[in-house]
């Protein structure tokens, strides 16, 4: 299997991550070309898939429970069934075909991590509101929400091995490398940035590209003139029956990282299902 998308879900008290992953997988099937629309799911509980109407959108389902919650994502290189993988956060939706970019990554990269994001108005995010640890510790501005890697690459192996070690030893790495500003939690983004920085491969895995264009809907980075707790208090989220998504007055054409998990409900899923069934 040459290329595919890898999604991790974990059990959570209030958020149905499986439903989010399902919506993302549906949107991938709806928009990507055949051969670039494979999806693999890593879950702690395979049985839950029986609640989905079209669980076939997950081409591979791998049961795995050796890490708690999101720490499992640092094992993406070990768990992926694909030769070339893009690991995604599940609270995202694909809005158009990006197969040509998958081809680009396969031809040109062993490892590539997203390093910028956009507002719903298409502006490059410059705010460091959620990224103080990155700015103050001079870390590369990596976003793990879109990570491409080749499975049998030495660069990928070194990178993920170190990232896993960092995640297992957050205090030690924070004390040494994040002394200017310690984040409350050393998450995957910070671990990836530290790993790239220590291995001195930032310029190899996060150089400027026009893709991925991910609309990052964290509320404080939308260039609004006032603080916001929830973006949905201020702009609407409209999914048309044909799968066109608008946020506020803006049609979305990029990958949308909607962040607020309740945006995907049964009505949205039904729209995405109907499109995939008719395809």
């Amino acid at each position: 299997m040459k290329f595919g998308y890898l999604l991790f879900v974990a059990e959570h008290e209030t958020v149905d991550y499986l439903q989010l992953a399902y919506a993302l997988a549906l949107s991938i099937k709806n928009t990507q070309k055949p051969g670039f629309d494979q999806v693999a799911l890593i879950t702690e509980n395979k049985q839950k898939l029986s609640q989905l109407t079209s669980s076939w959108v997950f081409d591979h389902v791998i049961e795995w429970n050796q890490e708690t919650f999101w720490y499992g994502r640092s094992w993406m290189d070990e768990l992926s069934p694909f030769e070339n993988t893009v690991c995604l956060d599940v609270d995202m939706l694909f809005m158009q075909d990006y197969s040509h970019w998958a081809e680009y990554f396969m031809e040109n990269c062993d490892l590539y991590v997203a390093n910028k994001s956009y507002t719903y108005r298409g502006e490059l995010v410059n705010s460091q509101y959620y990224r103080k640890a990155f700015a103050k510790n001079n870390l590369p501005n990596l976003y793990s929400f879109y990570t491409f890697f080749k499975k049998h690459s030495a660069l990928s192996r070194d990178f993920f091995e170190l990232a896993r070690y960092i995640i297992k030893n957050p205090t030690e790495f924070s004390n040494v490398f994040l002394s200017n500003y310690k984040p409350k939690i050393l998450g995957t983004d910070e671990a990836f940035a530290l790993s790239a920085s220590i291995l001195d491969i930032s310029d190899d895995i996060a150089y400027p590209l026009e893709f991925p264009r991910v609309v990052h809907m964290k509320p404080m980075i939308q260039n609004w003139p006032w603080p916001a707790d929830y973006w949905s208090d201020h702009v609407g989220f409209y999914l048309s029956p044909t799968g066109q998504l608008k946020i506020g007055n803006y049609q979305q054409h990029d990958i949308v990282h909607y962040v607020e998990k309740d945006k995907i409900n049964s009505e949205m899923v039904a729209i995405l299902e109907e499109i995939v069934w008719k395809k």
């Binding site: 298409g122 502006e123 201020h234």
Partner: protein, 286 residues
């Protein structure tokens, strides 16, 4: 293809837009080497005749197109340095520029936009049907411009400035101007949808929304003219000397002014009365 510049002017009891249009038109003609036409109304023409500017206008303008003065309830606060007045504001017929223009490629400019360079010349033959000024640049400091000088509303679309609009007369731009007219006629609806303040009709807002809609409800880097260098109405045009404007700029919009000199640069002078005060000197430049 015929090229030309179009200016609208409807006088009111406070502001002599016709005089400003003669100055603005004369400067545009001089620096862009293209004919200029004026769209105005009979009462403004009568005023021009009475104030002895009409002969000058006939020399400056290729055509003086007389239309019905549109009815409007639009009012706005106009500053003249530290003082201000609420004045009527007749700006609702800019959406008719497609219909009124005698040219196939038109540069539509505001009467308070003074052209001192040939910078806009390079856009006549750009292969785009419609171009609008991308934004406004404050002469003093970006911090003086408010959020609503950059976006139509807090969460809405980016504000382009209809101070300069260039268009080719064809079906595409007819659709655009029809849409601007539709937005004007349904301003409350669009205010609700785009969350902007409805109290005063702004061409900048209607043009920005129309552009946003026609480019697929998204931001585009196409169809943009250079940002408008702007002298706010709290600032004062102090003197005019050769091609040099000396202006007083208040960085904090208070009574502390700083002297600044402009040369060979296009400028949007929002303090209209200060243009009128220096009209004799400005008319000498055209």
């Amino acid at each position: 293809m015929t090229y030309g510049i179009l200016i609208y002017a409807h006088n009111n009891r406070t502001v002599d837009y016709a005089l400003m249009a003669v100055i603005s038109g004369g400067l545009a003609k001089k620096h862009l080497d293209q004919p200029v036409s004026l769209v105005t109304d009979q009462s403004t023409v009568d005023w021009m005749k009475g104030s002895k500017i009409y002969n000058r206008a006939k020399n400056v303008f290729d055509q003086i197109i007389i239309i019905e003065k549109p009815h409007t309830n639009n009012n706005r606060v106009l500053h003249d340095g530290l003082t201000s007045k609420v004045v009527p504001f007749t700006n609702v017929n800019r959406c008719s520029a497609w219909e009124h223009t005698p040219y196939t490629r038109t540069l539509l400019i505001d009467s308070d936009f003074l052209i001192f360079s040939d910078r806009l010349k390079e856009y006549w033959d750009v292969d785009q049907d419609l171009l609008i000024a991308e934004s406004a640049n404050d002469l003093c400091d970006i911090s003086r411009l408010g959020y609503q000088d950059r976006y139509i509303s807090d969460v809405g679309v980016k504000l382009n400035w209809a101070t300069t609009v260039m268009f080719t007369k064809n079906e595409n731009t007819q659709l655009f101007f029809n849409l601007v007219a539709y937005i004007k006629d349904n301003y409350q609806y669009f205010a609700d949808t785009y969350r902007f303040d409805v109290k005063q009709y702004r061409n900048d807002i209607a043009f920005s929304i129309a552009k946003h809609i026609l480019q697929g409800f998204q931001t585009s880097l196409h169809g943009l003219l250079p940002p408008i260098l702007t002298l706010l109405d709290r600032d004062i045009l102090h003197s005019v000397d050769e091609n040099r404007l000396t202006v007083l700029v208040s960085s904090k919009l208070d009574s502390n002014y700083c002297l600044s000199v402009l040369k060979d640069i296009d400028i949007h002078v929002m303090n209209k009365q200060s243009i009128v005060r220096h009209s004799d000197r400005l008319l000498e430049l055209i």
